[in-house]
Assembly symmetry: C2
Homo-oligomer: 343 residues x 2
DNA sequence: AGATCGTATTTACGCGCGTAAAGAAATGTC
DNA sequence: GACATTTCTTTACGCGCGTAAATACGATCT
């Protein structure tokens, strides 16, 4: 890096011996200029410290190089993990990732999208809150900005949906639990914030009936995203009231299961599949903390990597296609049984 | 909202009956125009859907309204929680928060700062990785951009530091543990990624000596940010090798403790302070998951709210002051003992 | 009523870059 | 070597807004 500070593309073009429009072309797509000129530019880039002004660029470009990522709750390591995967892929594709969390609040979700709208992103990857989401506002946003919906499906939202195959995954677990012990009861919130929960309940019922067992569902109260707290409180209640019709509990998600396990521990119930165990508990999601529960949690894993990859590829191709045309395609990725100690 | 789309500030100024420069002034600071003109602008704002182009604004403004937030590891709910607090305050102050995670990787930390630099933020709130950070690169960034360093102190970095009082907090816990049972051994990583760990070890030694006990430190191997995994693996080793000189273990942080508790559970050790318990385990941080461990984790809490508040206030005043002048001031916020079941 | 002060308006320029058009130069083809 | 083709240069304009300077206006005060 030399001393003379480069102030703008004009000056940089001068020192690299190339015209400004060509330099501009290079920055928009390095492959669009001849190899020899590209070399000259890149040599100059090593000698001088210059980067195009991002605001001036985006002001005039029809499409920015920004991709928004909106998740419902970043303090949940599950979403943090998916977001991390997506962010990496987005960056590798040469885009700038803007990560936003709705913190479980519908208004924040709207605000995030409005904020994104003002930076004119090329595309957005959106994991909606679900039940609490303002559908109309989301739909209005998706009409204006290319959007791929992931994790939590909202009918008709965005150009595509990429998510977890709740049916397959639930069936996998039910089958396993039935095969290895008492048929499970299903433990969930009465009004889950996320529609995945509904899919899982329905799949549970279907799987149980298919296997010739009567489905039993325990629906607990709780309104917010403090799933562990809800699982703990209601788990303790359900256990002490002996409201469980089976010694096997299939929680709608790992966070509820984490709370449930804490409650079981506190009440002195031994959880696991060996003798001497009073209860089997299973979860769903393969949450980052599920391997450190006591006992470690048997669960069904999302395919984190593939969900991220497919989501990013989809939004990139939508951006490249420039039209919102075509069907809204849906991709469901299969889950995998993670056998640990709790069931 | 009426039909005629407003395309720019010129048109908006026309329909609101105010000159464009005055409208510009309004958007930069609504309080800087007369009440009557302000009313007229805000009336027009309700009738027409207009927002200034963010890129054109930032291109010319000397200072943008962006504030960067960089944390070492967002998949850690501890940082997610602090980030959430900070983000909220930044937004309330009328700034746009740009949240970035270094994912535990020094190169990513540099990349984040470089990326931030290109959007010319008014200020940055930086929680560095710590030991692995590239000090020179961070320092170079802080020379150019007003920065407040938080959580993990790097000597001389930024205009100020806001963080947790590790000395006070550690002493609090040591005193409690000594008072209620056997003096604790200190369980930590030999080469912790974060300098807070060093402060805690030193404070532990000092507190033990002050109370007339010989400090005992167990240093375990492990290089990355998978603290639970390290605590689990090494906790299991230490327990089975009977390498602990006390029945009381004070873990350097909650994530290690979470792993340790999982190991103890698996090995059949009962943790807690009642009779029949083989071990007491304490942590440090009041990690969001520490209330759901088995048993629930006794720990020392950060003052999340105050750390966020003080950090944001500091960066705002640095931005307002426009100079990097003055001392680098340090704020340490006291921790609070969180008594739960594990110790 | 005139003087005074705080605001608003008018005019004008600049920011750094995208992009279009026309012509020049380099490259590839036979 | 002549030609077609690709790529670069030159020139020029526009994007939407910040901001400065000079001027005009209105409210307030004496």
């Amino acid at each position: 890096m030399d001393e003379p500070k480069i102030r703008n593309m004009e000056e940089f073009a001068a020192v690299s011996g190339i015209s400004r429009p060509t330099v501009s072309k290079y920055f928009n797509d390095p492959g669009s200029v001849r190899q020899t000129t590209r070399n000259r530019i890149e040599q100059a880039l090593e000698r001088y410290d210059y980067r195009p002004n991002i605001y001036a660029m985006n002001q005039n470009r029809r499409l920015t190089k920004n991709i928004g990522i909106v998740v419902p709750y970043l303090a949940d390591p599950f979403f943090a993990e998916i977001a991390r995967n997506i962010e990496t892929l987005v960056t590798e594709a040469g885009y700038r990732a803007i990560l936003m969390s709705s913190h479980g609040k519908p208004q924040q979700e709207i605000d995030n999208l409005e904020s994104l709208r003002s930076i004119r992103p090329a595309g957005v990857l959106l994991a909606p809150l679900g039940r609490a989401s303002n559908r109309d506002a989301l739909a209005a946003f998706c009409r204006d900005v290319p959007t791929v919906n992931f994790d939590c499906n909202v009918e008709g939202l965005g150009e595509a949906f990429v998510g977890h195959n709740n049916e397959q995954a639930t069936e996998l677990m039910v089958e396993y639990l039935v095969r290895t012990g008492e048929p499970p009861v299903f433990f969930e919130m009465r009004t889950p914030p996320n529609p995945n929960a509904n899919k899982r309940r329905i799949a549970y019922v279907a799987a149980m009936e298919r296997l010739g067992h009567a489905p039993e569902i325990v629906q607990i109260e709780g309104e917010n995203w403090d799933f562990e707290g809800i699982g703990y409180r209601e788990g303790a209640r359900v256990i002490s009231e002996r409201a469980l019709q089976s010694n096997t509990v299939f929680c709608s998600n790992d966070r509820l299961a984490i709370g449930f396990l804490a409650a079981a521990y506190e009440l002195g119930l031994r959880v696991g599949r060996g003798e001497g165990c009073a209860l089997r508990v299973a979860g769903h999601d393969n949450h980052p903390y599920s391997r450190y529960t006591c006992p470690t949690l048997t669960t069904v894993s999302h395919n984190y990597g593939l969900i991220a990859e497919k989501s990013v590829n989809t939004i990139l191709s939508v951006i490249a296609a420039e039209d919102g045309g075509g069907e809204r395609d849906m991709t469901l990725l299969d889950g995998e049984l993670i056998m640990r100690a709790s069931a």
